[in-house]
Amino acid sequence: MTSDSHTDGGAHSSTGLSNNKLGMWLFLGSECLLFGGLISTYMLYRGRVGAGPRPSQVFDIPFTSVSSFVLLMSSLTMVLAVSAAHKGDDRNTYLWVTVTALLGATFVGGQVYEFTAFYHEGMGFTTSLFSSSFFVLTGFHGVHVTVGIIMLMSIVGIMKRSKVPGSKAETVEMIGLYWHFVDVVWIIIFTLIYLIPA
């Protein structure tokens, strides 16, 4: 085990660790409660389809599998960006951050397409308890991915103007932690919501 986080700049707590990093982990811990609530609500209501379509009638598993793969690979490009940032390699940091943002945008685009297809198949937001809980859960996740993309594009712009307050590497790492968390949430959603039939 190493505790290299205190070498990365930024304000430090009495533990010797970065306050920014500790704050980000606390935030991610609290996000578990947010997504836990949304996932539990979906699990409770997934069989309540009313007159609307059942999950198995609307879910397109091959399409969602490709989307999941894209998001998973964006975690790889993000960790490569963090690695490049720690090496002080700005060129590769920009490259991998941009690729991550593009992969994230592809995922969000796929989600928009999926939502549109569901709507045309008769599954609107208020069609049933299943559809409402599904759209709220996956929509919240999509918003998180979108916020991640905005952060990624912003950090590229800010870094290019050399206006990053504190350590560049730590800033990229904080965004990376958020991005990976969004990925692990999708790992759970993909299994529990898409692959396990209601």
Binding site: G29, C32, S167
Partner: protein
């Protein structure tokens, strides 16, 4: 301005190591999708949940560096996760989800 930290070998893994981790994750995802099409009988649910948990732990440990970082970060994150699991298990049990 603060000094940048350059090339700390302790910070996570090499890039090749990350690519290997991603390949493992992709392979597990492939297996997960395969369970949707192959009838595993009673093994279906446990197999999917185990694969999901393995992927979760791999991303959190290696990509998010919890394995290499100070243990306090692990405690902070897993405290939130375990609290969520307890709270929502009770919530689902209250609504007879498991029965």
């Amino acid at each position: 301005m603060t000094t940048e930290t350059h090339s700390t070998p302790e910070h996570g893994m090499s890039n090749a190591g990350y690519v290997r981790i991603a390949a493992i994750l992709a392979a597990i995802t492939g297996l997960e999708v395969a369970t949707y099409y192959v009838d595993l009988g009673a093994l279906f649910l446990p197999a999917l949940l185990i694969m999901m948990a393995v992927k979760f732990i791999i991303v959190v440990s290696y990509f998010m560096h919890l394995k290499f970082d100070n243990k306090l970060f692990s405690w902070v994150f897993y405290a939130g996760l375990i609290l969520a699991l307890i709270v929502y298990s009770i919530f689902l049990a209250t609504f007879h989800f498991f029965s």
